[in-house]
Amino acid sequence: MARMKFLADAERCIECNGCVTACKQEHEIPWGVNRRRVVTLNDGTPGEKSISVACMHCSDAPCMAVCPVDVFYKTSEGIVLHDKDLCIGCGYCFYACPFGAPQFPQDGAFGLRGKMDKCTFCAGGPEPDFSDAEFKKYGRNRIAEGKLPACAEMCSTKALLGGDGDVIADIYRRRVTTRGKGSEVWGWGTAYGRPEKPPAQPGAKS
């Protein structure tokens, strides 16, 4: 099994926030915590681009390196997870993460900065699979159910791909070489209709 990765396709993302909603709903995430969010560049101007951002499950994760209490571990599938029981909520991982993935609930045992919460690639945590403790602390464990993250599976335009890095890279490669630009883009005709035939010129032979 190769490493599990996310891949966000800015050409396809329509900023619907379906991934954010899927994540919130799947794991019953409280207010103030956003394991996933959609970032839009040049918002409001023609040609704006959006991408969905969460923990990218780095191969050489900076959060793992800076954690003073070493709560992070990596599964055999390359998913970066952490043990909330040991987290002291110091926030070092938040400073180290280039994606702003670590989140801190504001009503936990540590007051304003609770134990860190982040995307688990829907792989739960070190509690027993499908247990109440696992769901309460880390959310649903879809990976143990043989499924992929809810955000990627829910994405209507498949802008967000998640899964085996080799497979999703192949999907993306084929997409890029096939879709072309502008009206050649796959799905353009379905979304905006096919171009109308030019009206026949009077006197022209058909």
């Binding site: 571990y73 029981d85 699979d129 990976i143 998640g162 085996d164």
Partner: protein, 75 residues
């Protein structure tokens, strides 16, 4: 007086020259050892009952299901 000056120069010069030295300033992160509870493999549960091949097959099917070029052709 001259001897004091020579001794002072002998002490000061290496210090000044040392200041010109170049040391690497890139931080090298050293990862600690995981201190938390051990986790199980995703196929070690009541659903897959330790069948790694079945789990990989299920995940692979989901992986490939994201390729709508294949999905649209198939249907």
């Amino acid at each position: 007086m001259r001897r004091i000056l020579v001794v002072a120069m002998a002490v000061v010069l290496p210090l000044v020259a040392g200041g010109c030295g170049e040391k690497p300033t890139v931080t090298v992160y050293k990862q600690g050892k995981y201190q938390g509870k051990p986790d199980t493999q995703p196929w070690d549960n009541e659903r897959f009952k330790g069948d790694k091949v079945a789990w990989e097959k299920a995940v692979k099917a989901r992986n490939l299901g994201q390729n709508e070029y294949e999905r649209v052709i198939a249907h």
